[in-house]
Symmetry: C2
Subunit: 300 residues, 2 copies
């Protein structure tokens, strides 16, 4: 029997509740506070049991969410838990997954190695940006693709064109579109030979009169998606929606998306929700629950 | 030949400069920024050399200072540095050095293990609260006691009584007082048998007419030291000064110390300075420079 431990980071509560319901495991809320000097403190009253599943998403302030996750692993190990699974619906630092320039760190590898060292035996996240990054985690690391599950919950089907914002994101869209029996494509930047103007276009398909869904893993500042949506609408798309795993929406991202004409953003509930009519959150905790069940029963 | 890398946390700059001057090593400032979503980024342009000495104190926000320290280690390892020394004048989370209650983490062990895993081969800090905590660091970990050096810089001598705020802090004061040929004691709480009133008293010595120095490792909220100072003055001490390694001074700590009648607080420059006439900072970077020289020349 396992216990779900709800971590203190914003956005973890609902996910932990969802997981606890779907799995019928007891939910324990980790006690937490901040000392007057700013240091984090956590404490868990649970056990002794064999397995703990910590739900702690890496929401802002990410560094504190990360430290709290480390502290929780050590606390649970100290209580005698043999297997400590981290469910981090959103894992920060995933985009710094290589040294783009000399002298840079591989930040996600640093984060994952620390999580192993702190005592996590298993790690489960939603869409880690680049799955290869998981090799830095010493235990069993799983990144779950939420797009097909989300699409089916929303009712997105083969009548839409699914678009990757660039060729690097094509695989993710291809997998989704094939599962839905839909057309898919990716966007490219094109420079006009005469005017020098740079525009964004679909590589193969014509979007005139079509319902389009841009699929991406993260919306941070919203710049890429907003520019893409605006151009697709100019090129005659009937409507543009966005399907995204992690809706960070930093700064004025929401305003940018709205003024670009995006009809709706569908996001997984991996981060604390923004309140906006533009956004619709899809609870992906049942999807994660299935995978937790699999790994704990030894199927994975 | 080694290079000093100045970390981005507040308070690291002056310490790195001091170290660079004392050791005559080149100083490189790590480039750093915060992404729009709040993630930290660092980059170092240096090398290839054999040894890097990173100066990064764990000032507020501590969790970000910690993450930046981890990222710097990975960046320097990626550049090919074989030996990466962390000089963290103030190391956060040092007071959570055991499980005071079941279900708590040993936070300092978590921090130290992560620093090893990230790539630091050596760690040097000022006064880690409990030296035994350093065993969690896999490499060569050193905690430097700054009190005698500070006392000699200030001119504190055998004419003062040195006091520990409690019996647990006695060793630190004993070592200092013996080096200075001074009297020392510790404070105890005493409950009046009739009134039930709790007062703080010295265990052995009479402070009437004496110049007293309270010696402690950290002043956080200032509560303990303020109460002690007030009572010592009520008991007839001529003046009360405070010698401390880490002046965190959270919240209204400074006001508390002033209204308690503390004449002066001497603090090492391990954290960003507060501006107050009450405070006098002592630059301990030359003391650390000596130890860096020793470990790099293989003496330690």
């Amino acid at each position: 029997m396992a216990v779900i431990v709800q971590g203190p980071s914003p956005g973890s509560r609902d996910f932990a509740l969802g997981l606890s319901k779907a799995l019928d495991y007891n939910l324990v809320e980790a006690y937490h506070k901040t000392f007057p000097d700013g240091e984090a403190y956590v404490r868990v009253e649970a056990g002794p049991q064999e397995v703990a599943v910590v739900v702690q998403t890496f929401s802002r302030p990410q560094d504190t969410s990360f430290v709290q996750a480390l502290l929780l692993a050590d606390a649970l190990r100290g209580l005698g838990f043999q297997r400590v699974v981290l469910v981090a619906p959103y894992l920060a630092y995933a985009r710094q997954d290589k040294r783009f320039l000399p002298g840079e760190p591989v930040s996600i590898a640093v984060v994952l190695r620390s999580l192993s060292t702190a005592g996590y035996t298993d790690l489960m996240t939603i869409e880690i940006h680049k799955e290869e990054a998981l090799t830095a985690f010493k235990g069993n690391g799983v990144s779950i693709s939420p797009y097909e599950y989300m699409a089916r919950q929303i009712g997105l089907d083969g009548s839409y064109i699914y678009l990757a914002p660039d060729v690097g994101a094509l695989k993710r869209v291809e997998r989704l579109a094939r599962a839905l029996g839909a057309r898919y494509d990716y966007l490219v930047k094109k420079r006009d030979r005469i005017t020098g103007e740079v525009t964004i276009e679909t590589k193969h398909l014509d979007v005139r009169g079509e319902k389009v869904v841009i699929v991406d893993d993260i919306i941070s500042t919203g710049g890429t998606v907003s520019r893409a949506a605006q151009l697709l609408l100019e090129q005659g798309a009937r409507q543009v929606e966005v399907l995204v795993a992690h809706a960070i929406l930093a700064g004025n991202a929401l305003e940018k998306l709205i003024s670009a004409g995006v009809k709706r953003v569908y996001a997984a509930n991996t981060l604390p929700p923004h309140s906006s009519d533009l956004l619709q959150y899809i609870d992906v905790s049942p999807l994660v629950a299935e995978r937790v069940k699999s790994i704990l029963s030894g199927v994975e």
